[in-house]
Amino acid sequence: MRHHTLRSAGATALALGVLTGVTACSGSDSDSGSDSDASGGTFTFWDPYPQWDEDTAWGQQVEHCAEQTGVRIDRTGYDTSDLTTQALLAGQQGNSPDIIVLDNPVVSTLAEAGLLSTTEDLGLDTSGFAENLMAAGEIDGASYGVPIGANTTALYYNATVLADAGVDPASVTDWQSLTDALEQVTAAGHKGITFAGIGTEEGSFQFLPWLWGSGADLHDIASPEAVSALELWKGWLDDGYAPNSVISNTQEVSWQEFATGDYAFAQNGTWQLAAADESGIDYGVLTIPSAAGGPAPAATGGEFVTAPVQTDTDRYETTTQIIDCLVSADNLLATDTALSYVAPIEDLREQQVQDNPGLAPWVEAVSAARGRTTDLGTDYPVISEQLWNAVQNALSGSQSPQDALEAAQQAAESGLGN
């Protein structure tokens, strides 16, 4: 076999410690055996769900699709942020897996790098999938993946705490009424609200509904509206309505705080529904209000099924079959139920709400949600990084919200100028 001779030659060279032998390994040589791991009817499959092994619903779903297609699927779960690095490295070395399930804001970045095949090339039928979800995977009119499900954030509330403070959850319809509620709750000796303001994409993901709800958009994050959104968060911190720990909170930590039962509100995601049921807290869910009232558009979360570019184009046919199987109506319903996600297809959502009425506010929130990369494409990561920096600087008191956002806007513009 070609690869074997190549390998042993490489091994000899290395064993001799010949420098050229080492540098020969560098860069983007096309003959580096891209498909050696996936030959012989084995298809490699990466996803960001290391917590689900082959015995879980998701693992079985993948296995089921392998059987249906008549191939072996070699599945590996990576941590979300690690998966991007892995995908880049593998792509650079021409060793990409056949299928990657990717976090949606990453799709445009990898697509721009030329790592992903378009759904058109693969011959995937994406009709019926919700527009606002598909948008996150589109660049210049081409679409690079199929959403496997969606999530977003909303406000969980603790009904017991609210009742004790005499707050009617239905009264929370805009920022003012929410802040009033927080004041009442803290006055009654409870804690107000917890969210995740950490300096990562998670922080931006949580802040975006407030930013969008203020009427601002990502093209100008230093607009008066945007500043008002950050001032809202900062005000909560200063008044003691939100704990200081939100500055370093991940969404999981923020959830743990809510789970203590002390907090009236927590901004968190669809994925905590199961944990909420288990917690024993009498909880409810509100969509995040906008400044002027009515639901604010939250950011869509969730993953896309994508197919990286292969040198061996014959593989695409089977890859397409596997993806088709994964996103077929029945399987999607099962998958999204297992992941506690909202289905990407309208009809399925109705089914989901029928099965579990608790999902209704989430379906509504997802329908109103916006993709993070929809407006900005690959500019999004630049803006997002500056946005979370600004949130950090303002909440920690290093800068005023106004100064922080102005600095962020400037840095973003010079970053994009390059």
Binding site: L14, A15, L16, G17, V18, L19, V22, T23, C25, S26, G27, S28, T84, T85, L88, G91, Q92, P105, V106, T109, L110, E112, A113, G114, L115, I198, G199, T200, E201, P243, N244, S245, I247, S248, E257, T378, Y380, P381, V382, S384, E385, N389, Q392, N393, L395, S396, G397, S398, Q399
Partner: protein, 316 residues
């Protein structure tokens, strides 16, 4: 015990003639035979990553050109970008404070413990081994535990301080405290390293010296100053040098606890390098590698100082 130190007497200069600085020639070829495995190993496994780190810093890498390998050569542009960045000042200052504070406390505490454990007492060995347990924890766990303990509201550190009437300190979320918080955690991680190295160094000091000093009526403190510290100097030097190299490199613990923030209040050169290269969805490999190379140069300077000092000691 006989008079000759059998456990590998440490630079036993007392009473010896002048040391030969270089063994007679002819051993050159043999020496390189002993070094051959190392050299092969270095060339095989370090040459390429080192070349890569330098190459990254002189090219304009985007995600696309990283994958396709066709990034254009941009000369010193990445370095200029780094030097003009407003982050450079705080990063340098924090690196200096972080490294200095970590080294001083790690070494001081490590040495004190090593001297303490040198005396044979019941459980000494077991306790000493237990001191290494922090090293068994993956950094993601120890970093998380420290952030857990230092959480503003629910952290045990603040709970303990409150018992003494000290109000809430925002260890991880205040720009005034975040650097202190990561330094404390890093000292905790570094103490076992110093303890082990310095303890083995102490083991190599011939006990006869202490016996003689005891007979001369030297106090414990005098014994430490006249015997322990001078004879431990070579091991101390390598411990501090390695400690320096590792401290300059530390990024995981800071990354897990504060991500260099809030703002740039706990950003060091290595967290900055990582942040640029891998911290966001859009990597800046070039400037990231440039910062990495800056670190290598800094370590190099200290390496040179170490070798100078070592040479002078030998000539002396």
């Amino acid at each position: 015990m006989t008079a000759v130190p059998t456990t590998g007497g440490w630079r036993n200069r007392q009473g010896d003639g002048p040391r030969r600085r270089r063994t007679p020639s002819g051993t050159g070829v043999i020496a390189w035979c002993f070094l051959a495995p190392l050299v092969i190993y270095l060339v095989t496994f370090y040459a390429y990553p080192l070349y890569r780190n330098i190459e990254l810093s002189f090219k304009d890498y985007t995600v696309a050109s990283f994958v396709q390998g066709n990034a254009p050569f941009v000369g010193w542009d990445n370095f200029t970008e780094v030097f003009e960045s407003p982050t450079l000042g705080p990063a340098l200052r924090n690196t200096l404070v972080f490294t200095l504070a970590s080294l001083v406390f790690q070494y001081g505490i490590g040495l004190a413990l090593a001297v303490f454990f040198q005396k044979n007492f019941r459980l000494a060995g077991t306790l000493r081994a237990l001191f290494l347990v922090p090293w068994l924890l993956p950094l993601i766990v120890s970093g998380s535990v420290w952030s857990w303990m230092m959480n503003s509201e629910s952290g045990v550190v603040n709970a303990a301080l409150e018992a003494f009437g000290i109000g809430q300190i925002n260890w991880l979320t205040s720009p005034h405290w975040s650097l202190v918080a990561v330094i404390v955690a890093n000292i905790w991680i570094g103490v076992p390293f110093n303890l082990v190295l310095l303890y083995s160094g102490l083991q190599n000091i011939p006990p006869e010296l202490y016996e003689a000093a005891s007979l001369d009526g030297a106090s414990t403190w005098q014994q430490f100053r006249r015997i322990t510290f001078p004879l431990l100097r070579p091991v101390s030097a390598i411990t501090v040098l390695l400690g320096l190299v590792y401290t300059l490199k530390v990024f995981d613990i800071i990354w897990i606890m504060t991500r260099g923030g809030p703002g740039t209040s706990s950003t060091t050169l290595s967290t900055w390098s990582y942040e640029l290269g891998f911290g966001s969805l859009l990597p800046h490999f070039g400037p990231g590698a440039a910062v990495g190379n800056l670190l290598i140069v800094i370590a190099l300077v200290f390496g040179l100082i170490y070798i100078r000092v070592q040479k002078r000691q030998e000539e002396w």
